[in-house]
Symmetry: none
Subunit: 463 residues, 2 copies
C-alpha cells in the first residue's frame, strides 16, 4: 500500500482523532486547566505510539510536559525533527464564539468550501501538529518512511515556552537532527502556496503607573494631581511619531531588511486587502508610511498595547482619580533585533519619559528573538519541491508577522535550521473567537509532508 | 434672653439631639434602609416643629420625602430659604471604621482638640444641616428672628437629588425667597474662615473606540491595522497640550475668571501642600502651568480619565490586538460653562480626531452646571460680616473643586442665589470611613447663622 492510499483510507478516522484532541481545553496559561493540559499531552503521546514510533514518552517539566517520540531507522539516514505544540490560547471573550470553543463543529466558509473545524486550537496548533503525526503514521504503517524522524511536542508555546530551552539544552544528543520541520504558520492561499522564511521576535511587558497611595476624589484633586491614566496615555502616545515610526532611541539599530529581490517577491505575491481585513472585520489598514502590508507585518518591528486597565470600569459613573493605571505592551521584533536588548531599551526609555509626579514599574514577560530561514539549502529546496508537487505551484518565501521564539533558540542551542511549512490561512482566526482549520488544508498537509520526507532524503543522499 | 444666651444654655441638649439624628442610618441609596431614611425625615420634621416653625411637613416624592417648614413673620421682610439633606452615604468599608458608623462617639483629633463626633453623616450633612435648625430655634424662642425663614431638607442628595428639581419646579411659590443658605461645604481652617463662592459642574461620558469586529492576533495584524488602545491613548493624549491646557475647540469660551482681587485673596489663603497630599498619599502636585493648586481645583476646568479598559487584562501575556477599547472621561466645569454644550463639544471633537480606521461612540452620563456666588451682593456681604464677627477674620471667597449640581438648578428654577457657608473641614473624612464633625465647628456654626440673619435683614432693610 502506498502512503497516499493509506491516507485516503483513514481520512475519517484522522478527523475524529483530531476532534478528540481539540475537545481537551489545554489552555496553558490557566492554572484551572492544568489537568486538562496534562491530559492532552497524554493523548498526544498515545497518538505517537499508535503512529508506530519506537519511543514515545512524556518528559515532565516545571510546567506542562513535553511529548517526545522517535523512529530510528539507521545512523546513515538523515533525521527530521518535528516540533509543534498541544497547548492553546485562552478562549475569551466566550460570547463572541458562534459555537463553544472546545466543542469542534464543522462548518463551510468562503475560504473553506469543503468545511472547516471551528474550535480553539483547531489551526494553532493542534490541527497543524496533527498533520505530522498522521503523515508519519502513514509512512511508518506502509513501510515508506525514508529517514529517521523525531517528535517534540510541547505544552507551553502560548506562554513563551519557558521550559523548552532547558529541555533542549539538556537533551541535545537525543534531539540531534538535520532539519527541524514545523507547521505553525500560514499559507498565502490554496492557489499561492508559501513557505515562511521569516518570523518576528517578541518582547512583552507589563507597565504600571502610580501617582498616589490611594484613589482620589476628582472634585478635590482633579486638575492638581497627576492622573495616572492620562499620564499612561501620554506616555504610550509618545512611543510612536506621526508616521507610526517607533521613537524609542536605538530601537531600529539592529534591523536589517531582506534583499531587494526577496522584497520584490513579496510585493509580487497576491494580496487581497479585503480578504485580509474581513476575518477580524477590520475597518481599515494603516501602518508605517512607505511600506506594503506584507512589509509592515513581515519585515518591520511593531509596538502594540495588548491590554490596558485602571480606575472605575463598571456601569455608570464614579468621579474617581485612580491611584494607578496599567498596560500590557508588546513589540514584535525583526531580523537581528535582540529581545533582551529591546526590553532594556524600552524599560529605560519608558521610565525616562515619566513625569516626576508618578512612579513607573516595568515588568518583562517572556520574549524571543526573530528568525530567518536561509533559502539556499537542501531542506528549503526539498520543502519547496514538496509544496510544488502537491499544490502545483512554486511557493513564495514569505516573511510573516507572528513569533515562534523557540525557532531562534533551536538554531542557537541545537545548531539546526527550521523549515516553516504551514498549512493554515491567516484568515483562520488564530487567537480569536471562532478559530478554525480547513479540512482541505488538513488533508493537503498530510499529503505534502511525506513528499518533503522523500525529497529531503533524496537530496541528502545525493549530497 | 439673647439668642447667644439661649445657645449657651442649650449646648448639651443640641448635641444630644444631633447624636440621636445621626444614629438613624438614613442611607438613601440602600433599599434596605428605606424605613430608616423615612424615620429620619420624620425626626427632622419634629425638630422643626420644636424649633417653633409654623408649618412643618413631609412632602412625599417618588423616592425619599422632602421635609419642609417655614416661619412667616411679614410680607415686608426678606425670606431666607435653608437647604440641606438628611440622607447619608453608605458606610462601607465597615472594617475601616474605628467605631461603628451609626454609633456617634466623641474623640479628640489634631484638628479638633475640643473633640469631634465620629459617625457617618456627622458633617455631611446632618451636623451642618442641624446647625440651622438650632440657630433658627434660638432666634424664634428668644423672639429675635429678624426675617422670614423656610427650610427644605431633602433625603436624596447623595444619589443625585432626582426628585428635588420636580419638587422645586412644582412649589416655586411656596419656596419663594430672597436668598438660599446652605451648609454642605468646608472651611479652610479655624483661623482662616472661608465662604465657598464657586462649585464646579460636571460632564461625564463613556467613550468606545473600535477598529474591528473581532480581536486580532498581534503577529498577523500587528503593524498593519489600527490598535484601538493605541488610538484611544493617542486621542486622550491629544486632549491636553504640554501645559495641561485642554485642546477641545470652544472648551474655554464660557470660562470667566474671578476678579483679580478675589484671585489674590485665594492666593493669600494658607495652603498646606503636605497636608493636602498626605490624605491620598499623592507623590506630587501638577496641573496647568501658571496656576496655584487652589486655582487648579477651583477656577479651572479639568479633563480626567476616570476609568480605562481594553484587551487582555489578566495575569500573564496574550498577544492580542483588541477590537475595542473603552474609557470613562469626565470634565469638571467652571463659571459659565454649560454641561450640555461641553458634552456636545467633547463629542464632536472626539469623533473628529479619530482616524478613519476606527469607529468612535460617545455616551454621556449625568451632568450638572457649575455655580458661582456673586460677591458684590447684600447676601454675600452679610455672610462675610457674620463670619468675620464670630471667627474674628474676614473670610476668603473660595472656589472649590467639587460639584453640588442642585445649586445651579436653584438659580435656574427659583431665580435665587445661594450662599455656601460651610463649617466642616476637608479633612473631616466626607464619604470615607471615620467621618467626623468638630464640636467647635458645630457650635461656631450655630453662633454664626443668627449673625447672618441679623446682618442680612439690616442690609435688605437699608436697601
Amino acid at each position: 500500500m502506498t502512503t497516499q492510499q493509506y491516507l485516503e483510507e483513514n481520512r475519517d478516522r484522522f478527523l475524529e482523532e483530531l476532534k478528540a484532541l481539540i475537545r481537551i481545553p489545554s489552555i496553558s496559561t490557566a492554572p484551572e486547566h492544568k489537568q486538562d493540559t496534562h491530559h492532552c499531552a497524554v493523548q498526544v503521546q498515545e497518538y505517537l505510539v499508535r503512529a508506530g514510533l519506537d519511543r514515545a514518552k512524556l518528559y515532565p517539566t516545571a510546567g506542562h510536559p513535553i511529548v517526545y517520540g522517535e523512529k530510528h531507522l539507521s545512523d546513515d539516514l538523515p533525521t527530521v525533527l518535528i516540533y509543534g505544540h498541544y497547548d492553546v490560547q485562552p478562549a475569551d471573550p466566550l460570547d463572541e464564539w458562534d459555537t463553544p470553543p472546545f466543542e469542534p463543529t464543522i462548518r463551510k466558509t468562503e475560504h473553506h468550501p469543503d468545511g472547516a473545524i471551528f474550535a480553539r486550537g483547531a489551526t494553532d496548533d493542534k490541527g497543524q501538529m496533527f498533520i505530522h503525526v498522521k503523515a508519519v503514521e502513514a509512512m511508518i504503517q506502509t513501510g515508506n518512511l525514508p529517514c529517521n524522524v523525531k517528535f517534540m511536542i510541547e505544552g507551553e508555546e502560548e506562554i513563551g515556552s519557558p521550559n523548552l530551552i532547558p529541555f533542549i539544552t539538556e537533551h541535545k544528543e537525543m534531539l540531534s537532527s538535520d532539519v527541524i520541520l514545523i507547521s505553525d504558520t500560514s499559507l498565502l492561499s490554496k492557489d499561492h502556496p508559501s513557505i515562511t522564511v521569516g518570523l518576528r521576535g517578541l518582547t512583552y511587558l507589563d507597565v504600571k503607573v502610580r501617582s498616589a497611595r490611594a484613589d482620589m476624589h476628582s472634585g478635590l484633586f482633579g486638575g492638581a494631581v497627576a492622573n495616572p491614566i492620562n499620564v499612561l496615555c501620554d506616555m504610550i502616545a509618545s512611543l510612536k511619531d506621526e508616521n507610526k515610526h517607533i521613537t524609542i532611541p536605538g530601537f531600529y539599530d539592529d534591523v536589517q531588511f531582506p534583499s531587494e529581490r526577496d522584497r520584490q517577491l513579496m510585493r509580487d505575491a497576491p494580496f487581497d486587502a479585503q480578504e485580509y481585513m474581513d476575518s477580524p472585520g477590520v475597518f481599515g489598514l494603516e501602518g508605517e508610511k512607505g511600506y506594503t502590508t506584507y512589509e509592515r507585518t513581515g519585515i518591520l518591528p511593531t509596538l502594540d498595547v495588548n491590554g490596558i486597565w485602571g480606575g472605575f470600569t463598571g456601569e455608570g459613573s464614579k468621579t474617581v482619580i485612580p491611584a494607578v493605571a496599567n498596560a500590557k505592551i508588546s513589540m514584535r521584533l525583526v531580523s537581528n533585533q535582540d529581545h533582551e536588548k529591546i526590553t532594556q531599551l524600552f524599560s529605560d526609555h519608558f521610565k525616562s519619559i515619566a513625569p516626576e509626579t508618578v512612579k513607573v514599574e516595568v515588568k518583562p514577560h517572556h520574549g524571543g528573538n526573530p528568525y530567518v530561514t536561509p533559502t539556499d539549502t537542501a531542506e528549503y529546496r526539498a520543502a519547496a519541491d514538496a509544496v510544488k508537487k502537491t499544490f502545483g505551484r512554486e511557493p513564495v518565501p514569505m516573511y510573516e508577522g507572528g513569533s515562534i521564539p523557540i525557532v531562534a533558540k533551536f538554531k542557537e542551542v541545537l545548531g539546526v535550521e527550521s523549515i516553516l511549512m504551514g498549512f493554515g490561512f491567516d484568515t483562520d482566526g488564530l487567537h480569536s473567537p471562532n478559530e478554525h482549520f480547513g479540512l482541505w488544508n488538513f488533508y493537503k498537509g498530510i499529503e505534502t509532508v511525506p513528499e518533503f520526507f522523500q525529497a529531503y532524503s533524496r537530496m541528502k543522499d545525493g549530497v
